[in-house]
């Protein structure tokens, strides 16, 4: 029996319309002649959502209890017995009460998929384990129900339900997300423009990365002989959907400006930042140098950047290797001091880097503030 097809509707926050869209697509499938049933639906008392569910068969819930409180949960054996072509199962991050088959709903869904039933499900981005800290840092709100990121990776399709923060707040004010008495509290806490903008960015990146990783897997799995012409075009395109920035640093205070500029650029591009120090072979890390390396390491940690220390006597060769390994698309270097003596005869570093790195890798030079002002 082949595994069912899995589609996840991912959103940045409650109220963007994940469940609504899932139901819409469920109707479309039913109209196309497929047997569709709702395995679990959480309408959150939203009229639009309840209306959208009408006409679709619902597998009855079962009762369970948490600390002597009766709750209604998805009936996994019931869904498996009913065996539709497609089951709509809301909120995959949900935690089941003790005593049921699995602790988490995404595990229930795995059973449904294993039974050859297609599944549509929903989740908000802050439930993804790896993003939980980041989202908590951005919004000040931490969710307790998390799911491993690999759950998203098991989906055949991830659909991002996108909505501008302004439009979502408008929906909230109109009472389409929470009942009227809860609207102000939501606006004062989680539903702030800056929170939603940050979450939206995280969601968009997550889906972009998911697309990228799936494409890379596909690209590795295919054989040359099996490629169709259009696949070749895709395979020839740059591997990374997003950019990746590499800043060449040295453990000294003057590198901080470069790190700041690189980090700002990485923030604007919504990409990861790597800091690379190519250490001369045999150079001991002690004294002031050790202090500066520690400072650089701590700064990288604060920024969420990765500090790489490569011991090599050829700066350009080391950078080229790291660029290939990390898939960097931008290299940022600090402005060199004016060449003196025999070094005047050497080709400038940016040119050497461009020749040594793969085509399409940009090199940017960050001006040294002191030097510029001295020139004025």
């Amino acid at each position: 029996m082949s595994r069912g097809r899995y589609k996840i509707f991912l959103g940045m926050a409650a109220g963007v319309g994940k469940t609504y869209r899932m139901l819409q697509e469920g109707h479309a499938e039913a109209d196309a002649g497929r047997d569709v049933a709702i395995g679990y639906l959480e309408p959150h008392k939203r009229e639009d959502t309840s209306a959208q569910a009408r006409g679709l068969e619902v597998v009855p819930r079962r009762r369970a209890s948490i600390r002597e409180v009766e709750v209604e949960e998805m009936d996994l054996p019931g869904v498996l017995r009913r065996r539709p072509d497609l089951a709509l199962i809301d909120e995959l991050a949900h935690t089941n009460p003790p005593g049921l088959e699995h602790e988490k709903r995404y595990e229930d869904i795995a059973d449904v998929l294993a039974a050859g039933i297609d599944v549509f499900s929903t989740v908000n981005v802050q439930h993804l384990e790896s993003l939980n800290d980041q989202v908590a840092e951005l919004t000040g709100v931490r969710v307790r129900e998390t799911v491993p990121d690999s759950v998203l990776g098991t989906a055949d399709e991830v659909v991002l339900i996108d909505l501008t923060p302004e439009a979502l707040i408008e929906r909230l004010r109109a009472g389409k997300i929470y009942p009227g008495e809860n609207v102000q509290a939501a606006l004062d806490n989680f539903f702030k423009i800056e929170n939603l903008a940050a979450l939206r960015e995280v969601s968009l990146r997550q889906v972009a990365e998911d697309v990228e990783s799936k494409r890379l897997v596909y690209s590795e799995a295919e054989t040359v002989g099996s490629r169709r012409e259009e696949d070749k075009v895709a395979a020839d395109a740059p591997k990374a959907v997003g950019e990746r920035l590499l800043a060449l640093v040295r453990p000294q205070p003057s590198s901080q400006r470069l790190v700041r500029r690189a980090w700002r650029s990485a923030q604007r591009l919504g990409t990861d930042l790597d800091l690379l120090w190519v250490k001369p072979p045999g150079q001991p890390i002690e004294g002031e140098l050790e202090r500066q390396v520690t400072a650089l390491r701590r700064l990288a940690s604060v920024l969420g950047a990765t500090l790489l220390i490569e011991e090599h006597d050829d700066l350009v060769a080391a950078v080229a290797r790291v660029v290939r390994e990390r898939g960097s698309t931008y290299i940022m270097v600090g402005e060199s001091n004016p060449p003196k003596g025999f070094s005047r005869l050497r080709e400038p570093l940016p040119q050497r880097l461009m020749r040594a790195t793969p085509p399409g890798v940009d090199v940017r030079i960050v001006a040294h503030r002191g030097l510029k002002e001295g020139e004025k």
């Binding site: 840092e137 700002r264 923030q267 503030r369 002191g370 002002e373």
Partner: protein
Amino acid sequence: MIEHFLVGLALILGLALGFLFARRRRGGGDTEAVHHILLPFTGTEISRRAIDASLRLARAEGATLMPAYLAQVPKQLPLDCAIPKEADSAMAMLEAIEQRASSQGVAVDARIERGRTYRHALARLLDHETFDRVVVSATATGASGFSGDDLVWLLEKAPAEVLILRPGPADHRVLSIDGRGAAATA
């Protein structure tokens, strides 16, 4: 003939000495002065008096200014987690301080330190950094700054001379961050 030989010898000696001198200068670049003045601050504002005083001292003593942005990490997050939102504020503030320092020819070696509280961040900074002087402003009080208790604690714990500056009129909004995160100097 002998003149040519002497000229050639002088050229070779000159080149060798130049090479050695250049190497020494390059080697010296990695080890910077250890004379540091610490300027800790919190939030998105910093006192002009504190900056000006620390820059005056740094210039007079040939010291490096070490502005240190202290960031609070909520208890539910690991202490060593990335703090992009705080870092954004810190970067803008440090950029503004560096601009001002650069215009006065003062070297800057900035830090961002994390802690559960500002005092905790300061304690962590004291643990692993060395400096000869600390400059703090008594104006930086209230929710976003050091409390009186923090300053007393600093006087007791800092292994260096501590300079606490008296509040001045309109001293609070000298370096601030606008809504888009860009730092501006008044």
